[in-house]
């Protein structure tokens, strides 16, 4: 997009002034109103068989009006900022809120500073292994990412595809640029604004017959850090190694889990256990267990919205500053994240700033960690971790994981794009894909070594179905349970 178009899209003053004008449309003495405005520009270029087959761009604006009358809240949303439409939307939200029984909603914040930190009974003294993100907060908006053009994306993909073609292989993948701005303003005086960018590049490399595959991806707020050539080299190398796969039977194996795999497993702790709603519903693995051991003592996991390595973003969808929250501290259940509604149910608790988008119409709105960091990362590449495996597997990534038992955080999913057998510290064969089914908590009780960390997303988030980003190390685990295999 052109610079003029970006200027059109971005601007704290312009957006907040617009919301200020909209708040003047709220009829006097009718109730409180909160406006959440999200503008988004998404450009996705996809390639298959070494050619771009899909190239799309869209820009949208969403305005969510939440009207509070006597403790009841009704919502209306639109994607049109004409004053007449917004006025009708506000009036309709107020009208519906007046019709509703008292819901005891805590009301709207008056400042982004009202979020903070909580201590759960039993988790006193449990905190981070040091300080979460001791350095300055990472930048959520990077101009170079915002200014990517269709030609830039095509050039990036051409760079990725060139060595693939040279190797006689087939490349598939995606280059996605996202530019967002989020603003929240309400009749209590709250004014919040933040902008974000992201660049995501992934490459799946296959042989022409589709029987060998290798994969790599890169994620950053700043597209200048993406390296399509390095990505291609990694995926090509993996594809070429992934030949003559042998079939292995179910059982427990030592394993080296690359960070993408770790993300797909930790994801289920995050969505089923690390939010206050799950805790209050009695469904979290932390329910009744704060301060107790839930994983190995070498596991530390926390939510860190400021970490430069976990796709930082300073705000949530209630306009609150997003705070760091310890989740698992030295293996013990330490805390969960809150939004204003869930915090209001616990005396003395406040939002931790992890309210999620209200735009999702098909599911419950619950607070969820969105910037997960696991401690312990080292400078050891995967090859180093492999050297300490007697007999086990290297897992590149998982596909379509699910959670048959949320309380025990049991994950199941098949491996893909590079599964390898290790014997006595060396890769000795490629392996047909296998189904991993195991409690993530039990898996994290067997971590023996940490490798290099990576900024990444789980399969669901990377593909737009979830919202959590991660900075996770590769792990060498002592016991990884596989319950079956597939034919390729």
């Amino acid at each position: 997009m052109s610079e003029a178009q970006v200027e059109h899209l971005i601007g704290q003053a312009a957006v907040l002034n617009r919301l200020e004008d909209f708040l003047k449309l709220v009829p006097a003495r009718t109730g409180h109103v909160e406006l959440i405005l999200e503008r988004e520009q998404v450009a996705v270029t996809r390639f298959a068989h070494n050619r771009i087959h899909q190239n799309v761009s869209n820009r949208d604006v969403r305005l969510w009006v939440r009207a509070s009358v006597g403790g009841s809240v009704a919502s209306m949303a639109c994607n049109n900022l004409d004053e007449k439409v917004v006025k009708e939307t506000i009036e309709q939200a107020l009208k519906i809120a007046r019709l509703m029984p008292n819901r005891q909603h805590p009301g709207f914040a008056s400042s982004p500073d009202e979020s903070g930190h909580n201590t759960e009974p039993g988790s006193e003294g449990l905190t981070f292994p040091g300080q979460a993100n001791p350095g300055p907060a990472g930048a959520s908006f990077v101009k170079a990412t915002a200014y990517q053009t269709p030609e830039d994306r095509a050039k990036t993909i051409a760079e990725l595809v060139a060595p693939v073609q040279e190797a006689g292989l087939e490349g598939y993948g995606t280059y996605k640029n996202v530019l967002t701005e989020l603003a929240v303003a309400n009749t209590n005086g709250l004014r919040s604004y933040a902008a974000g960018t992201s660049g995501y590049l992934k490459g799946l490399i296959e042989t022409a017959d589709g029987k060998q595959a290798g994969y790599a991806d890169q994620l950053s707020r700043d597209v200048t850090t993406l390296d399509p050539l390095a990505l291609a080299r990694t995926a090509i190398q993996k594809c070429l190694l992934n030949k003559n796969q042998i079939e292995l039977g179910p059982g427990e194996y030592e394993a080296v889990l690359e960070p993408n795999t770790v993300a797909d497993l930790v994801r289920f702790m995050v969505i089923h256990g690390c939010g206050a709603q799950q805790l209050q519903d009695g469904r979290s693995f932390m329910t009744g267990r704060f301060g107790e051991k839930v994983t190995g003592a070498n596991i530390n996991i926390w939510e860190d919205p400021a970490s430069p390595y976990a796709m930082p973003f300073p705000l949530d969808y209630e306009g609150q500053y997003a705070r760091a929250v310890p989740l698992v501290s030295n293996g013990k259940a330490a805390g969960v994240v809150y939004d204003r509604v869930t915090a209001s149910r616990v005396p003395g608790h406040v939002s931790t700033g992890q309210a999620t988008t209200p735009w999702n119409i098909t599911s419950d709105i619950v607070p969820i960690p969105q910037h997960i960091v696991m401690g312990g990362g080292t400078d050891k590449p995967v090859e180093e971790l492999v050297k300490n495996v007697k007999r086990g597997l290297v897992i590149t990534r998982l596909h379509y994981t699910h959670c048959p038992d949320p309380r025990r955080v049991v994950a199941t999913g098949t491996t893909r794009d590079g599964t390898f057998l290790v014997e006595n510290g060396e890769i000795v064969a490629a392996v047909k894909n296998m189904r991993l089914t195991q409690s993530v908590l039990e898996l994290l009780d067997t971590v023996e070594e940490f490798g290099q960390s990576k900024t990444c997303q789980d399969w669901w988030t990377a593909n737009g179905m979830a919202i959590t980003n991660y900075n996770l190390p590769a792990l060498r685990v002592g016991r990884c349970a596989f319950t079956g295999n597939t034919t390729f």
Binding site: H49, R51, Q54, S57, S75, A154, R283, I361, D405
Partner: protein, 492 residues
């Protein structure tokens, strides 16, 4: 001239048509424009409180253009003379950029032209957007309270939703189509907790949905169903774990519908077969050379993609490339015979489009999607299937599902499981799951129950494509008798 419906006024058709000309002038060989105006209601009651009361309007349009072998799609919520020029220029810029990364002699085929014109309207008896919120809430509160009548139920939820859309489509080949679709539905969820265990029982997992008015929601009888769902949740959490091992099973209609979706619908999507989804949703084990000869299932297994089923979520007049709704056999007497396809994917293997190109929003490009992919009914009642089982299990409603990237190996968990002993349903079990390979599972399908047991299930969130597209699809299914399935016990 007939008076316009309120939703029609959200789209200026003249401006949309002008985008085709703007694209042509900017250099497009082909262009199609699609405007979409949508309004959605979502009402949820949870644990005795209103959890969500939300209405959302979402209007916009998109322009898909081809220049040579390069495609570009741009879209915007704004529809003005200025935005038409900008979006046309963007779409052309994107198509030209696509052209930079193409193999030499890349074919530019887009299959058979779409020139159909007309209008499609889904049936509505009671306008769901005119039902007073208080009436909707009263029904949901009553249903939700019924879930909580059972002591171990700790989290209870009832919900209903309504969707209305007006879609305008035109292309440079002469197609000109207008479609008005109203969808409604709702559901229930009860989570029972005891000690370290928690189990969820639902009505149809996410509920059930169809193309209809509020009468569909009333027909769901959520208040009565809540008594069953709440009681089963209450019993489930205290039930014995399922005995593991190979056994004969009967798969209930709702679980069978999701199994059809995951293990037949997705692998028959031709874009997956041709590689377009390799890096995200995955490929398929059903390769083109297998069509007409590969045994996908037993002779009892017949699967179709049918976008003409009255009242189903995957029904329409034309798909989002302008191709008329069709019925396409996918598996006939157990043999794999057909694909879900779009214009370009069908052309790639010498076929005509199956009319299954769909876009989930104005901001998304059409891709191959399921319509109504169904397991055709056989004969007999559910009771007659159960009556054929001496020792076995009855499994109903999915609670989790996971498949490999070619849809060969799958793992499903069932919300509820009952013993079958001497042809009768017996005690309740918890924690049943199973893993199998697709052709082996369907190859073991001995019988499919008859039309009297056939039920269409509407799913709201079939995910595919980048950026993500969450599609509304439906699946008709009757219960299935399976010769042998190894049931596993989730380690509770």
């Amino acid at each position: 001239m007939a008076e316009q419906e309120p939703i029609e006024r959200k789209l200026n058709e003249e401006l949309l048509l002008s985008a085709l000309e703007a694209a042509r002038q900017a250099g497009a060989d082909y262009a199609e424009v699609r405007g979409l105006a949508e309004i959605q209601n979502d009402v949820r009651v949870k644990n005795g409180e209103i959890n969500k009361m939300m209405t959302r309007e979402d209007n916009g349009w998109g322009l898909n253009v081809r220049i040579g072998a390069g495609w570009g799609f741009a879209s915007s919520a704004e529809l003005t003379g200025q935005s038409v020029k900008e979006i046309a220029a963007q779409a052309v810029q994107l198509a030209k950029a696509s052209g930079r990364v193409q193999p030499k002699n890349q074919a530019a085929s887009y299959g058979q032209p779409s020139r159909a014109t007309g209008e499609y309207r889904s049936p509505v008896q009671i306008d769901p957007f005119k039902v007073p919120p208080r009436e909707q809430l009263e029904m949901l509160f009553s249903a939700e309270a019924n879930l909580r009548r059972f002591g171990r139920v700790k989290v209870s939820e009832s919900h209903l939703q309504a969707f209305r859309s007006f879609k305008f489509f035109a292309n440079t080949e002469g197609a000109h189509q207008r479609q008005f679709i109203t969808e409604t539905g709702g559901g229930l969820s009860a989570i029972a907790v005891e000690g370290p265990y928690s189990y969820q029982r639902t009505y149809g997992r996410g509920g059930n949905y169809g193309q209809a008015g509020y009468e569909y929601i009333l027909d769901l009888q959520l208040e009565d169903e809540a008594l069953r769902v709440g009681e089963e949740a209450h019993e489930l959490v205290a039930a014995d774990p399922v005995p593991a091992g190979p056994t004969m099973v009967v798969i209930g209609s709702n679980l069978a519908a999701l199994m059809v979706h995951e293990s037949c619908g997705h692998p028959t999507e031709l874009d997956r077969v041709l590689g377009s989804e390799n890096a995200f949703a995955g490929g398929s084990f059903l390769e083109p050379q297998m069509r007409g000869s590969f045994r996908y299932g037993s002779p009892a297994v017949n699967l179709t993609a049918d976008a003409t089923i009255p009242g189903a979520l995957g029904t329409f007049g034309w798909d989002d490339e302008g191709t008329p709704a069709k019925r396409t056999p996918l598996v006939e007497n157990g043999i794999f015979t057909g694909y879900l396809s779009s214009r370009d994917t069908a052309a790639a293997i010498g076929l005509e489009s199956g009319g299954a190109a769909r876009a989930s929003s104005w901001s998304r490009v059409p891709i191959v999607r399921m319509t109504n992919v169904s397991l055709e009914p056989g004969e007999g009642s559910l009771d007659s299937l159960i009556g054929e089982v001496e020792n076995g299990l009855y499994l109903e409603t999915p609670s989790s599902w996971s498949l490999d990237d070619k849809r060969m190996n799958f793992h499903f968990s069932a919300e509820i499981c009952r013993e079958i002993k001497n042809g009768k349903l017996g005690k309740l079990y918890k924690g049943a799951s199973f893993m199998e390979r697709t052709p082996i599972f369907w190859g073991n399908a001995l019988k499919v129950a008859g039309p009297e047991e056939w039920k269409v299930w509407g799913f709201l969130s079939c995910a595919k494509g980048e950026p993500l597209q969450s599609a509304h699809v439906a699946h008709g299914a009757s219960p299935v008798l399976v010769r042998e399935l190894t049931v596993q016990r989730e380690g509770k």
